[in-house]
């Protein structure tokens, strides 16, 4: 059932430390780690969203090394993960691609480290959405200091923050994505 879930890592529009909307750079390890987590939890595609088209070539060079080149021979399981990674220029392009693949438009589930704001749902609710028949979903992660508020206002759902302990809530996006996939899709 989880093949009806895709994910997207947004490098724009995201917040910087002061809350301004910026564009961040693609990093090698975000591609690897989130692709491996997405593959482990059975997601269909992992959109790497950046308006900087020169960085699409970087994404392709990394994925092709592991899906076609010497990396595939040395470490064949890595290509199964990295073939999920898919550069696109915008969230709209990711949505259009997902719609074409699934035959229906995906509902958008954003993630945020802050709990205030509209459309918040619990992890249990998110798990129930994915377990139900019908809709397909695209879950959105933000680099930098998180997805821009203007974006959070346009999505269908925003997942509650991961509840840490002792009031500290500064997970890497790589760690947050792994925990969120496990909470939404992991066997119990």
């Amino acid at each position: 059932m989880s093949a009806k879930l895709d994910c997207a890592l947004l490098h724009h529009p995201v917040r910087d430390r002061a809350g301004a909307v910026v564009t961040t750079s693609v990093t090698n390890l975000d591609i690897h780690d989130i692709a491996r987590s997405a593959r482990t939890y059975g997601l269909g595609r992992y959109y790497v969203v950046t308006p900087i088209e020169a960085q699409h070539a970087l994404v392709r060079r990394i994925t092709e090394h592991w899906t076609e080149g010497a990396g595939r021979r040395r470490m064949p399981e890595r290509h199964e993960a990295l073939e999920l990674a898919w550069p696109v220029v915008s969230l709209e392009q990711a949505v259009a691609d997902a719609e074409q693949r699934h035959g229906r438009k995906p509902k958008l589930i954003a993630t945020a480290a802050r709990s205030e704001g509209p459309s918040r749902i619990t992890f249990e609710s998110g798990r129930a959405l994915l377990a139900a028949d019908g809709d397909v979903y695209l879950i959105l992660f933000g680099t930098g200091h998180g997805l821009a508020d203007s974006l959070l206002e346009t999505v269908d759902y925003v997942l509650e923050p991961i509840p840490g302990r002792a009031g500290y809530n500064h997970l890497s996006v790589r760690a947050a994505a792994a925990i969120i996939f496990d909470r939404l899709l992991g066997e119990r």
Copy 2:
């Protein structure tokens, strides 16, 4: 209650692709990501275990940048995570340090991506151990292709693998540590 849990990332003794026991290199992002996850879930200390003493200087340079230097001024929450990272030469040294801090010797919980082997416990059992009064615990993660078999045979417990979907089980150690902390300690 979670302050009675520490973690250790072992760079030796770990397996390479072919199963041979090797020593891996310390990487910057393992230090950052696992420190942030450990801090989020309230762990007490994060031992970075490597017999290569020259790499201890690397660990200290990274942590001091964020706990004392320019990084602390620019990103103060990062020092709260990185002050947990603690280089040691061996698992024995980590155990001795934990024993001194807690006043009792920690029980060892190893992690593995393979389910066969002695002393396996479920995540539910691990969660119950940590919730009970009394013992303190040190959870062990392996770099490379996982902790050496010789080490797995000497620990008190080995956690069951993270159950993925569709038979793929190649999470990064950063993602695996995050999911395991959440399964053992996360609020539900």
